[in-house]
Amino acid sequence: MAYSRVHASVREYDVFARKARVEPLRQVGSVVAPDDDLAMAYARATYDEERWVEMMIVPRDAVIRLWGPGESES
């Protein structure tokens, strides 16, 4: 894997958060960790500088991409 700097096996997680209920969630960054527990601890430690009302992480490999920049929709 690309990020196996310390751990034998890791996953990438995207971090999403919002400051107010009326705001949409937005991606604020990402973390790399061997499991969900450590990913949550890292996300909270790394992106805790703002007063978020909500924060969540999503394993990047769980995201299904329909198309990306420069790719055709169909």
């Binding site: 700097r5 527990d37 450590l38 601890a41 790394t46």
Partner: protein, 214 residues
Amino acid sequence: MRYAEWCIAAPSLEADIAAAAMGLDDIGHSRVLYGSLKELGAPDGATDQSGYANVAYLDRSWTDWSEFVAANAVLDSGFSLMIEALANGNVEVLRSRLKKMLQEERYHAMHGRSWMREAKADDAVAHAWRECLEWFGPENGDVDQLQREGKLAQGVLELRRLLEERIGGHAPDGGIDWSTWDPVRRRTAPGGIDKETLDMMQGLAEKRYMPTSG
């Protein structure tokens, strides 16, 4: 303080940041606890090494990441359990103030437990676990008395059981020699925090760098 020492020495950048963040959390927790103690009429804090009631595990800087992991997984879990027992007890000032601390400590425990699965930390975990049991104290001691009075939601046996549950394992073999246990400092080992760290904690190290007033 011990967490902060690892903020540029942990195995990965993420772990560096987590060490710094957890160190900051714990400084905040100390402030809340000292503030609460003052309100409850406790005397002022210690001024020398022998007055600090820290677990002996924190006396010296850790030289191996496994020691950090064990402190994080075991001592933070034990601390959280005691704070939880206080937050669910009948002392109002503690019931209202300790909730945020528990939310933050949840992430410390997650960090510790995950690293425990990765790092070979068995010896350090056993060491930290023994000291945590010393910190809880003996059965039918002050903690059980506070539990009977309703100030703590859990007694010693329940705290020990919950600690096993949180860490996922069993307490290390070998009993504790309670005859050498200091009921004020809640430890059996003599000694205390190293001088350099003590100077930093009391602001003496910072004073050396202050401009002299003329």
